[in-house]
């Protein structure tokens, strides 16, 4: 019995999978504080599925990137459950989870999470195999799209923040760009669990979020150290 948790952005998704069958999945995009809702959601789906903590055999969590706090809440819950129950923990890129919505697309898949000031968390995955073409990163979106353009292949964009960036994408890529339909823009914990089958188990104590971005304080420190601030 596998429990999956993704709270890495404003949507929340939790699911239970048993013997390759999705038992239950709850996904919402209500932008409610994950700290309030993540554990109640886990409790609720387990209750509905009549699953007790002792039945769980594996925990899968989205590892980031995304909202720092969101990623931490999901991973803290996943780590603590896995460690407490002495079961394996597997983590999957939060961007890759989004691409699973478009598996089979003949081209490239570009998951997008807005990170403000024209920047995004993004990556490029192969639509057929979901193999990494350009790794997860925090980038200026315009620069990233210039790189995307060089592949000269159709690109399917997905993610809940797509509409914010749609004009830029259309301007930069024109007919090469496709957009996931609205129901395929949310992360789904069942996808997360499916993707985890190919990933290695984590050392629970040392599993940490993949923030893909250093903190502002560290960035400022680097600036002063190298004297690039003026």
């Amino acid at each position: 019995m596998i429990l999956g948790i993704d709270t890495s952005n404003s949507p929340l998704s939790v699911a239970l999978v048993n013997n390759n069958t999705v038992l239950i999945e709850e996904t919402h995009n209500l932008k409610i504080n994950h700290s309030l809702t993540a554990m109640p959601a886990v409790e609720e789906i387990m209750k509905k599925a009549k699953v007790v903590p002792g039945d769980l055999t594996r925990i899968v969590a989205a590892e980031g990137p995304g909202s720092y706090t969101g990623v931490r809440i999901g991973l803290t819950i996943a780590k603590t459950l896995a460690w407490s129950l002495k079961i394996p923990l597997v983590t999957v890129s939060s961007l890759k989870v989004l691409t699973a919505n478009a598996l089979g697309f003949n081209g490239l898949i570009c998951p997008v999470m807005d990170a403000r000031r024209g920047t995004v968390f993004t990556a490029l995955y192969d639509g057929d195999t979901l193999e990494v073409v350009v790794p997860d990163q925090h980038s200026d979106f315009k620069n990233f799209l210039e790189q995307v353009r060089t592949y000269e292949r159709p690109v399917l964009f997905t993610g809940i923040d797509l509409e914010i960036h749609r004009p830029l994408i259309e301007e930069m890529l024109g007919g090469m760009a496709r957009f996931a339909s609205m129901q395929n823009r949310l992360p789904r914990a069942s996808n997360l669990i499916a993707l985890a089958a190919d990933e290695q188990e984590q050392d629970v104590h040392h599993a940490v979020p993949e923030y893909r971005r250093i903190t502002e304080a560290e960035a400022n420190l680097v600036k002063t150290d190298t004297g690039t601030s003026r």
Binding site: S35, P53, T69, T80, W83, H205
Partner: protein, 339 residues
């Protein structure tokens, strides 16, 4: 017969990731603290986002250590207690969510503890509380005088109107170019000094138990500035001693007055600044003269730790004050009574 109660405490409100097991609310079985001071030093203070990142890295490690040292299985615990607030929101959330997941995994009751209640109950790990009591909580984030008539009954009679005492210590330390955290360095310099610069005492209105340290801090900054303008070199020891004398005199005097007015049987101090030698000495002397029992827990129980959270959490658990999976971190949580 009453069975022994073992409570696991978690504390992540600021820059310490801590877990502890306490027996019956009074006896420390294990007390594990992973300090982050080293990582924050280069920034001259706690960086909230970095604190939160460290908590995620440490949380299951400290819980495991606390249980291993206690030689207890989760099934032998009575409850899990965690700091619910106040504190840095991102930091609190790690502890709260870990506590919820642990409690859920083992079907244990969950208790959300106020950080200040924790600091006060740190004393119960040393000797039983006697009511009414007066607690002075003095740290980097707090300067409060609290009267308790019984367990879980808190009346805040005085608090800081601006900076916490520890904050003022850190700021003054920075102007003296002392490393972070500055409190212990000021305390040391003050002790080395035979002279002290005369800085004002801020008493506020007649009868008030509130504190204000930002004026004192500004006087120190002005003094340093004026010396520099005149081309003189300030003596750091004398500045440290002058600053500390002012803090210690006001805090001691207000604590004594409050103890008299509320007719308490016991006075306790807690929080990181309570470890300050100058303050410790002054309070000890004054209450000895007054003939009132006065206690300060040893240093590891003054600074943030999880044993204090487990100690307070045990009493809350006994009163049936448990939470559920919707518990959240509350950065500005007020100290409210349990009764």
């Amino acid at each position: 017969m009453n069975e022994d109660k073992y409570v696991l405490g978690l504390e992540t409100s600021c820059d310490e990731t801590a877990a502890s097991v306490v027996k019956n609310g009074t006896e420390i079985i294990s007390n594990v603290v992973a300090s982050q001071i080293e990582s924050h030093k280069r920034f001259g203070g706690v960086v909230p986002e970095i604190a939160s990142r460290h908590h995620v890295e440490q949380i299951t490690i400290v819980i495991e250590e606390a249980l291993q040292q206690a030689n207890l299985a989760p099934s032998e615990l009575s409850a899990v207690a965690v700091t619910e607030g106040p504190g840095l929101v991102g930091a609190l959330l790690v502890g709260v969510n870990a506590a919820k997941a642990f409690a859920f995994a083992h079907s244990l009751p969950l208790v959300g503890v106020h950080h200040i209640a924790g600091h006060i109950y740190a004393n119960r790990l040393e000797q039983e509380m006697e009511f009414p009591l007066l607690a002075l909580v003095i740290s980097g984030g707090h300067t409060e005088l609290i009267v308790m008539k019984e367990h879980g009954d808190f009346t805040v009679i005085g608090e800081t109107r601006d900076d916490a005492a520890g904050e003022a210590y850190d700021k003054v330390a920075r102007t003296l170019n002392l490393p972070y955290p500055g409190g212990p360095h000021i305390d040391r310099l003050a002790h080395e000094s035979t002279t002290a610069v005369d800085f004002p005492r801020v008493w506020l209105e007649e009868g008030s138990y509130d504190f204000s340290f930002s004026g004192l801090k500004s006087s120190v900054l002005n003094y340093m500035h004026n010396m520099k303008q005149r081309g003189e070199t300030p003596v750091p020891q004398a500045v440290a001693a002058g600053f500390q004398n002012s803090v210690v005199e006001v805090v001691t005097e207000k604590t004594l007055r409050a103890a008299r007015e509320f007719g308490v049987k016991q006075v306790i101090a807690a929080g990181g600044v309570a470890a300050n030698k100058g303050l410790r000495k002054s309070l000890t002397e004054v209450f000895e003269k007054e003939g009132l029992p006065f206690y300060i827990p040893p240093l590891p129980l003054c600074t943030d730790n999880a044993a204090m959270i487990a100690a307070a959490g045990t009493v809350m658990y006994e009163k049936g004050l448990t939470g559920n999976m919707a518990m959240n971190g509350h950065p500005g949580m007020p100290l409210s009574s349990w009764i």
